[in-house]
Symmetry: C2
Subunit: 370 residues, 2 copies
Amino acid sequence: MTDLTSLDTLETPAAVVDLDRMERNLDTAASYAAEHGLALRPHVKTHKSPRIASAQLARGAAGLTCATPFEAEVMATVSDDLLLAYPPVGAARAERIAALPANVRVTVALDSVQAVDEIGHAARAAERTVGVYVELDVGMHRVGVPALEDALALASRVNAVRGLELAGVAFYPGHVRESVDEQDAALRRLGDGLDRALSRFKAAGLSVPVVSGGSTPTLWRTHELPGVTEFRPGTYVYNDRTTAAIGACAWEDCALSVLATVVSTAVPGQAVIDAGTKALGREPVRGADGEGFGQLLEHPEVIVARMSEEHGVLDLSRSDWRPVVGERVRVIPNHVCIVVHLNDLVYGVRGDAVETSWPVAARGRGQQAV
Amino acid sequence: MTDLTSLDTLETPAAVVDLDRMERNLDTAASYAAEHGLALRPHVKTHKSPRIASAQLARGAAGLTCATPFEAEVMATVSDDLLLAYPPVGAARAERIAALPANVRVTVALDSVQAVDEIGHAARAAERTVGVYVELDVGMHRVGVPALEDALALASRVNAVRGLELAGVAFYPGHVRESVDEQDAALRRLGDGLDRALSRFKAAGLSVPVVSGGSTPTLWRTHELPGVTEFRPGTYVYNDRTTAAIGACAWEDCALSVLATVVSTAVPGQAVIDAGTKALGREPVRGADGEGFGQLLEHPEVIVARMSEEHGVLDLSRSDWRPVVGERVRVIPNHVCIVVHLNDLVYGVRGDAVETSWPVAARGRGQQAV
């Protein structure tokens, strides 16, 4: 058998996490939350691992954020406070959420009457109470109620539905993708909008104990937003090329890379690695300059310029480095959440030693066979 | 429990295959191969399923094509003739290939001296013979030997290495992405190049019993290429929006769709479904016009215009259709191979009845935990 304890012999492509970097990332965010009195509720979509979630909870995370019922089911093994930051629409989805273990405090974020009614029905059928955040559209225009009047009406309806409890408001500033230094105007607009919304909720006699927001790009400026009590960053645990490009982390904070092998140098001016779309995802750098689909950890002047499913083409035009077939590289991906979602297993390394591995336990959907 | 036997109650997002369409696609390609005396060696990267592979073999497929060692290991349960159309570089990869069951005829495609030496070493260690296709670069500039002299030298080296056997030449016309009707010039260039190459191999006394090529975009014109004896299409089993856009299949031949639920209509002019990057992949239409990341089966005027990880934003601007929250849609993805790779399970339907499901058994890498 192949020796699995060194980066030199690990089979490629493989997702490898620098444990020192990851632990530093977790510590830094936990310190920031504590310093500013914010509840950190990490989004598990990035790691999909109860083990990493436990490391977040051990550092003081107030609970976890999930996107899918399967993520919530897996995370219920390590946390008793889960937020589904996704509209609980569709009978099957609502039922799975309501069927989470009774000891788990469950909250959902939603933006429609249909969702209120569906999760209310499922909560009553399961004889439990489900908390609700009314989701506001603060400028991303994805989900969330755009008009304040509609948000207030939805909150009142939540209060009127047995089995549900208005627990707060939620927003996601996913549209703020400027580099951290250039977010002033966007954050000011965001803050003004939140201010107005919270005043209206108060004037209407609607109590919103939690104001839940935050993404990784705006992570370190969450405390500047008036009224925010909790934040839900996901990517910060591993970071990626995009996070570094917009200045929300340093290049040295990128903890996850895709280990790959050079499999061909037959075509001049390039080298082909065994990490393509099925290992890296076809994600752009967003909010900052950055061509290609990933950047080499050890040769940052080299990018993955093109991809097929199992091939990544390295552009060597800006580098003196001339790899040979069999040489190994580590690629910092543009969007780490997608890379994790493509893997069943992630390896943890310190230096060149492969110390451990863990399953991406909440990958997939937990679907039933027919 | 939720009733799983109808499309109306299946949990979303889910990959569903129209079995009638798939069976028709399999039949049509098998008939084409038989009619032209070509060996069809389907690429399993598209379905990653022994069950679908068996359906291909039952219709006369000569063997299977794989990209990864794990695909080969899984497919060895249903076929005794496997081609790894990927450079067998890296000790771990070469060893896994050589460790396939002894009854399986194993062939690899390669383009470097290093690959010859590595797979040769592994073959001798496993006391077996591995067939080799020398891979030619016919214009895609991904892998493959560009210069004929180098290809001839590599073929001679294969013949000189104990444990290896020169079995043929391989090429992949992945650069031919024009619509089928506009491929004339590209196929002529390709044919001329092949002609020259095969003459040189013959003149050098190098026997190439197999000339292996073909992709889904060029599938139906494979017989026009001089000397080709086998072809390796993958996508044709399910087809996708790209295949239809370039005219290599009809829209009605798209067999796989992603079933999704409308989860939000809060933001005017759009509807949000629960299929985003993690269900559809962020793949463009290639070789033809086509914005967005997928197109609705029942409302082809509607595309998935934007995506987050778990959200797809439908652009309703060209449609009179106004979906409500909870409504279900089926999305024909731009690139079906990526969608399958994102799923553990695929459902098979006839009409609205969910008849069966099968695991995407060769998804992932079959990696060892540490």
